[in-house]
Amino acid sequence: MVIPSSVDPGFLPRAGLDRLLDLLTADGRRVIGPTISQGAVVYDEIHRAADLPSGWTADQAPGSYRLRSTGTDRQFDYAVGPTSWKHETFPPRVPLTIGRRVNGQVTFEDAVPVAPLVAFLGVRGCEIAALLTQDTVLARGPAVDRDYAARRAAALVIAVECVTPADTCFCTSMGTGPEVTAGFDLAMTELDDGFVVRAGSPAGERLLERLELSPADEARTSAARSAVAAARELMGDPVPTGGLPARLSAAAESPRWAEIAERCLACANCTLVCPTCFCTSVTQVSDLDGLEATAERTWDSCFTLGFSRVAGGNFRPRVQDRYRQWLTHKFATWWDQFGSSGCVGCGRCITWCPVGIDVRAELLAVAPPPTELSDATTQIIGVPGPERIEAVPGPTTPALLTAMTPLSDAVESPTYSRAFVAERRRETVDTVTIRFDTDDPDLLAGRPGQFVMAALPAFSAAPISVSRFHPDGLELTIRAAGAATRAMCGLRRGDSLGLRGPMGRGWPVDAAEGHDVVIVTGGIGLAPLRPLVDALFAERTRFREISLLYGARSPSDRLYVEELSELAARPDLDVGQIVDRAGPDWFGRVGVVTSLFDQRHLDGSKAVAFVCGPERMMTATVDVLRDRGVTDDRIFVTLERHMECGVGLCGHCQLGKAFVCRDGPVFSLAEMGPAFGREGL
């Protein structure tokens, strides 16, 4: 769909480009455009038309990029280079919050986005699609990256249609180019003597009027159309996208992943040059005395080993896990999450892969299309934005999960509210439960199973499940697993820390109404289930039999020991405890938590189960529950994944179609489907 403009297309002679730059500069805009630097066409600040890559193009192939002189004075005869506009809209480092220690207490302040007016000159069709794609991820909620939104709002987009695609380009397959149809303020098409210019927004129309161009005659507009059409013809349709998300999902166990991993260096180049990749981490930049630290959002990549690391393990230890994650997210689960493909077909990941892995070839190898692909089955994969989506292929899995607890406005801001230590109790040698006082109404309104991001200045924020809610505060059970949690465990009465939340979707208490309830947990996994137990007892008559089955490494590793004894004494609760090993002074059971089922009658048709623990423990428990007839829609698990932001913006905790922090951490097995317990996800 082409955006109609009330201002007719004009013709901008090549010599008039400086006038355009002057107008933009006069408007207070910094102009970013293509220029030659370090042997490539990159985007950088442009002052005069002479800064543009006049007479240059680049030959591109898998793992190869070479500038080549064209012998003309054309300025946009190149295909996209290593940089993309996300360097401007989503810079590699951006401050988020400043944490301080003042008089022994902590304070947190939001960094204010700095977004001066800017104009992007030379944006290609695929790149507009990339901007729209990142808009959906970062600025269309439920949580908004405020820095991105500010920078995007400050940017004027001047597109230049691509007429010289590289051998690595496949925008035609992805439905993003080479034509520029929406998402721009001005669009230009280069001819030998100048540019056909049209407007795509009111701001573009005003700019076009101020340029005072002569109308583009039919010969020129026709030549412009032909040049773009020729580019389309040149590219063909190298990636059959019909049914691609479903094909990829079905290829989750393809041997090809391991074969690719033998070539892939996991260097993350593909994600860094990708104009839509948005994964980030939070890095602390502290002064030397630790009194002030800035938390910065920094680019990260799902190819790095640390990206999916959690306390005690890593969910994607192998390169093949990480390559599969990247490819299936781009081309399959992105649809589930954001309603579009995550790939725009720019080809950067192909050119800048040091070993020349060609994503087009890998897609064909991993998920080959049916041999007879009729027009009827070919889906046009477009980019997001209502004006761009022509047809939406069926999602690979059921629609995105409904958030059980809608995110409050507070999570759009990274602000931490301050909470004070009211009480501290040691649970085990390295675990404490701290009761915090807070007057933050969002925190106080949390639900069982939700978590908070807890922060101390100069330390990484840690996702911690709420282990009990109080009218004037909450409890966190914290295990000293690293520097940040060790510092938190050392907090004393009256000390403060920053809390952000509550995050995520908690336990569906109502789903257990009228059912037997089986709670199975291990280790510190009891912490997020404790508020569930509280909630069940608050309305005990709504539920039938309740069993709490708890496994721990040893008797001294159990949490809430006194509470467990009190619970075990209740006539309306069945408590089973078991440890992996014990000394001779332990008279309880020793073995795996699943063996607690052996002596228990469980009518699976009447039961709802809530499970939390290490994933391997949960898979074993799920096997028993299924054997006993508990159906997947009545088995709820809470998942652990690496979390940095807590609101689905940083990408770390992605698991199939879900972001665990935002869509979970509690899921029913029916929601998870085959993703539950699958290796390398």
Binding site: S460, A552, R553, V590, T594, Q599, P614, R616
Partner: protein, 159 residues
């Protein structure tokens, strides 16, 4: 230990209930019973295992001596479960020390008699070995899970 003639009934256990009537009757002739106070040692690691036991009531702990850590319980066996399968499988030496952690009643099947009966009666052997295999397999699965040490405390993480 109070050792006596059969007090519980083999046919009331899952182990006995699976046996054909003729074989059950044959096996019942080999069954005795024993009761143990809490803390009583039933078997010692390395000793000859004379009987295959079925816990009728109570709980027994399977313990290993770990140098510098003393006796460590690696598994408890509950009512209905088997102990002393080494009475059937050579070299008939107990692989752990077995202690009653609460007052416990066992059914005991004489090991030598059982082995002779298994050699003589293929139908009995088929039924008993299947039950034993299931019990040992279940224990092996559980032991593997414990081996993973899933709840171990990791330190020095970045957060």
């Amino acid at each position: 230990m109070i050792r006596g003639s059969q007090s519980g009934s083999l046919r009331d256990t899952w182990f006995g209930a699976r046996l054909p009537e003729v074989q059950l009757t044959r096996l019942e002739a080999l069954v005795g019973s024993a009761s143990y106070q809490a803390g009583a040692q039933i078997l010692r690691e390395g000793d000859l295992t004379r009987d295959l036991g079925i816990v009728v009531q109570g709980r027994v702990a399977l313990r290993l001596r770990v140098p510098e850590r003393g006796m460590t319980t690696i598994l408890t066996v509950e009512a209905g479960e088997i102990i002393g399968w080494s009475a059937v499988v050579p070299p008939h030496r107990s692989t752990s020390t077995v202690v009653a952690v609460v007052p416990t009643d066992l059914l005991l099947i004489d090991g030598a008699g059982l082995r002779a009966a298994l050699d003589a009666d293929p139908v009995l052997a088929a039924a008993v070995y299947q039950s034993l295999l299931e019990a040992v397999a279940s224990r092996l699965t559980g032991t593997r899970m414990q081996l993973l040490d899933l709840f171990t405390q990791h330190r020095d993480e970045p957060w």
